[in-house]
Symmetry: C2
Subunit: 442 residues, 2 copies
C-alpha cells in the first residue's frame, strides 16, 4: 500500500516539503487553515497599503494543480493522536498518516501577558494585514474629522513593539506613508506630524544583524522621524495605550512584533519543547520518540552543535522542508539513512524605508541603496509565480515614482472611535460596514 | 464670501461634479462613507476573484490631491436640514452649504420583502464583493470536505436573482470559475458540476437591451451551463434556500441583483420620489422647491419628455454630475440660466463570459468577440488612473491565457457551515478568523 503523508501547514516549509516529494509513490494531504500560500516577507507591505493581498498570495490548489498525488484540505486541526497516527480536524473525518510533517509556523508571544492580546494587532496573515491597514488609514481619516486636540494626538500616535525586521519594516513604511504619501492629501491635519514610536526591550534594533548594521538601521529610522525607545520594556497595555519603561503613551494603535511562540503543535503530540515553545527536534528534523513525525520551520526548535537554535526565517523553513521531503522520498524507496539537516545561510536582509535596507551576507554586509536593490531583486525573484512578480513590480514602480500607495482602501469596519464608546452601537460611524453597507454613500 | 458646496457621495456622479467645478471660487466638501472612488462596473470581477479591490478603487483623497478648494470627509450622513442648509453627520459637526449635491447612489430593493435581506448577498461595494468571493470560494472548499451528498449538492448550488447586467456578469463568471478555473484544482469533487441558476421575474435576460441581444445572451448563458429561470418570481427566501415559481431550491448562496431603491436621501430632504424611490428632479437636476439642492445619478429620478425615466447607469451619473458642476460654476460666476440636462447615450454593454458580450450602440449592435473586445477596451480606458489600467490589464491577460483567477483568496471569516449550526461557536472551523487567526495553520 502507498504510504500516506500528511503535511500540516502550507507555508514555506510545507510547500518545500511537497515540492521535494513531487512524484513520489505516496498519497500526500496538505492541511491548511487558509486556502493560499502567503509570501510572508512582503506581508508588511499589505499592512501599509503598498500591495494587495493577491499580489503576494496564491491559491494553494492552483500551485499544486499538477501534483496528482497531493490532496489539499482547507481545515483546522484540533489535535493529533500520535499512537494511532491520526490527525483530528474540526468537523471532518480524521486523517490517518504514515508520515506526518508539522509546519504550522508560529505566532507572537506576549511574554506571559495574554491579557494584552485584545489591545494589540499582530501581523501574521492576510486578515491581520488588512486589519492593520484599516486601523492606520482610519486613524488619519478620524484625525481629519476631530475637533479635540487630545484625540488628534492619540489618533496620530502609532506604536510598534519589537524592533526585529518586521517591526522595523512596519515602522519605516508607516513613517513614509505619513511623511510622503498622505502629506499632500489632508487639508486640516498634518499627517507628517504623526508620532511613530518603535519600542524594543533590547539595546538595539535588528538585533540579529551585526552591530554596525543595527547602528545604520537606527540612524535611518531616526532620520525618518521615528522615536526609538531602546532598552525599555513594555510593562502594561490597556485600551487607551501602553506603559513603556517609565512613561505612558496614549494610543489606539499598537502593533505587536515581539517574541514568537510555536504553540500549539507541540501540545498536540505531547512533544518536548525548546526555544519559543518550538518542538525540540532531532538532527534529521524528526520528533524524539516519533521517527514518523517531523517538525520544520518556525514550529520546530532545531539546536545547532553550538547550542544555539536556528532562527525563525523563511530560508530555514524552506531548507528543512526540502530536507525532510527528500529524506522521506528515500525512506519510501526503501533506504534507511537519516542524514542530519544542515542549514546553509545565504544571508539575511531587512528593508528600512525607501531605498534603505541592510543586508548581511556573512563575509560582507551592505547598507543603503545597494542593500535595498538587492532586497528588492531577491524578493521579486522569490515570489512564487510570474503573475505576482509582474503585479508587485508594477506596484513598486508606481509607488517609487509617485510616492503613492495603491491599496489605500478602507474596506472593513473601522473600529468605533474611542469617544463614542458610550453611545449606542447604531450611532457609531461605520459599524454597519460589512453587513449593511449598501453603497448609500455619505 | 465664497459659497460652500457640499457633495454627498464620491461615485461617478459626485466625482464628475467635482471635476467640473475644478478651480471654481467656492469651498467644496466631499462627504463619502468610504475612503475611495470605486469603479463599480468591474466590481463583479472582484466578487469572482479575477481582480483585487485595489485594481478598481483609488483613494478619493489621492484623486483630489491637487484640488486645493476641495476637502474630503469620510463620514456618514444622518440627515439634512434643508431650511437651515445643514448636513448632519455621525459624531461630527454639521456641515453648512450654499449648494448641495446629492449623489448617494442606490441599493438593491427586496420588493417589500426586507426580511429576505439576511439570507442574500448584494453587490454594491468592495466589502460586498469580498464577502461574495469568500462565500463562493468557501463553498467549493467545504464541498471538497463533506461526506454528505445532500450538503454537497447544496454547497455547489449558486443562485443569482435578477438577470440585468450585474446578474448576468456574475452568473457568467461563476460558471467560468467552476467550469474552467477550479475544475483542475479539486480532487474529490467535480467543480464543473456546480449548479448555477439565474432567476429573473421578467421574460428575458438583459431586458434593457434589444431583444436579439437578450436572445444571444440567453444562448451564451445556457452554453455555459447556467439554468435560466425566466418569468418565475422569487416568492420566499430563508436560511436554507428559496422558492422560485413553483419549485424549491436548496442553497447557501443567493446573490441578489434585482431591483433598485434610492433611499434614504429623499427622506433626508422630504423630497417627492419618482421611479425606484429616487428624488424626482427638475430638468436642471435640482430638487423642486430647493433650487440649491441637486440630485444626480442613481439617487435621482429624471423624467424624460417621453415620460420614461433615465436608467441607473454610470454614464447618466457622470453626465449629470458634469452638468450640475458646470451649471454651478456659471451660477457662482453670476449667471442665472439653468439649462436642462440632456443625456447623450453612447451605448450600453454587458459582458457574459470569456470573449462573449453584447453591445448596443443604438444604430448598430455587436455580440460575441467584437462586443467583448469593445467592452474590454472601453473599460480599461475608463479606469481612473494609469496604475489601475496596468494592473487590470495584467490580471486580465493572465486570466485569459491561463484560465486562472489571481485573487482566489479566502481571507475573512467564512460563514459557519450549515450542519454545524447547533455546535458551540468555538468548535466551528474558521470562526476565529479575523480576531485570533495567528497563522498556526492546519
Amino acid at each position: 500500500m502507498r504510504p500516506r503523508i500528511v503535511i500540516i501547514g502550507g507555508g514555506f516549509g510545507g510547500m518545500a516539503a511537497i515540492h521535494a516529494l513531487r512524484g513520489v509513490a505516496a498519497d500526500i494531504t496538505l492541511v491548511d487553515r487558509t486556502n493560499h500560500f502567503l509570501f510572508q516577507p512582503l506581508l508588511y507591505q499589505v499592512a501599509t497599503a503598498a500591495l494587495s493581498p493577491a499580489d503576494i498570495a496564491t491559491a494553494s490548489r492552483a500551485l499544486l494543480r499538477r501534483d496528482a498525488n497531493v490532496e489539499v484540505l482547507m481545515a483546522e486541526v484540533t489535535g493529533i493522536d500520535p499512537d494511532r497516527r491520526r490527525v483530528h480536524l474540526v468537523e471532518s473525518q480524521d486523517l490517518t498518516y504514515d508520515y506526518l510533517i508539522l509546519a504550522t509556523g508560529c505566532r507572537y508571544s506576549f511574554f506571559g501577558h495574554d491579557e494584552w492580546a485584545p489591545y494589540v494587532k499582530e501581523l501574521k496573515n492576510l486578515a491581520d494585514a488588512l486589519a492593520i491597514r484599516d486601523i492606520v488609514l482610519a486613524a488619519f481619516e478620524r484625525a481629519e474629522e476631530t475637533q479635540d486636540p487630545e484625540e488628534l494626538r492619540r489618533l496620530l500616535t502609532f506604536v510598534i513593539v519589537g524592533a526585529g525586521p518586521t517591526g522595523v519594516e512596519l515602522a519605516g513604511t508607516i513613517a513614509e506613508l505619513s511623511r510622503s504619501t498622505l502629506v499632500r492629501d489632508f487639508k486640516r491635519i498634518q499627517p507628517q506630524s504623526a508620532r511613530i514610536i518603535l519600542c524594543e526591550a533590547g539595546n538595539r534594533v535588528l538585533a540579529a544583524f551585526p552591530e554596525k548594521l543595527s547602528a545604520y538601521g537606527a540612524q535611518v529610522l531616526r532620520e525618518l522621524g521615528i522615536e526609538l525607545r531602546l532598552g525599555e520594556a513594555v510593562t502594561a497595555i490597556d485600551a487607551d495605550g501602553l506603559d513603556v519603561g517609565e512613561s505612558r503613551i496614549e494610543t489606539d494603535c499598537i502593533l505587536w512584533c515581539a517574541g514568537t511562540q510555536a504553540a500549539p503543535a507541540a501540545g498536540w503530540i505531547g512533544a518536548k519543547t525548546g526555544k519559543h515553545g518550538g518542538i525540540a527536534v532531532l538532527p534529521d528534523c524528526s520528533v524524539p520518540g516519533h521517527p514518523e513525525i517531523f517538525a520544520i520551520g518556525d514550529v520546530a526548535s532545531f539546536s545547532l552543535a553550538s547550542g544555539q537554535s536556528l532562527p525563525g526565517l523563511a530560508p530555514v523553513a524552506k531548507q528543512q522542508g526540502a530536507h525532510v521531503g527528500n529524506m522521506l522520498k528515500r525512506l519510501i524507496a526503501g533506504e534507511t539513512s537519516r542524514p542530519p539537516f544542515e542549514y546553509r545561510d545565504y544571508g539575511t536582509m531587512a528593508v528600512i524605508g525607501r531605498s534603505r535596507a541592510v543586508a548581511d551576507f556573512g563575509r560582507f554586509t551592505l547598507t543603503g541603496w545597494p542593500a535595498w536593490l538587492a532586497w528588492s531583486m531577491v524578493h521579486l525573484m522569490l515570489l512564487i509565480d510570474f503573475r505576482s512578480r509582474v503585479l508587485v513590480f508594477v506596484n513598486w514602480s508606481w509607488a517609487w515614482f509617485t510616492y503613492g500607495r495603491g491599496a489605500r482602501l478602507l474596506i472593513g469596519t473601522p473600529p468605533a472611535r474611542k469617544r463614542s464608546k458610550s453611545r449606542p452601537p447604531q450611532a457609531v460611524a461605520g459599524t454597519e460596514g460589512i453587513q449593511h453597507d449598501k453603497d448609500i454613500r455619505g
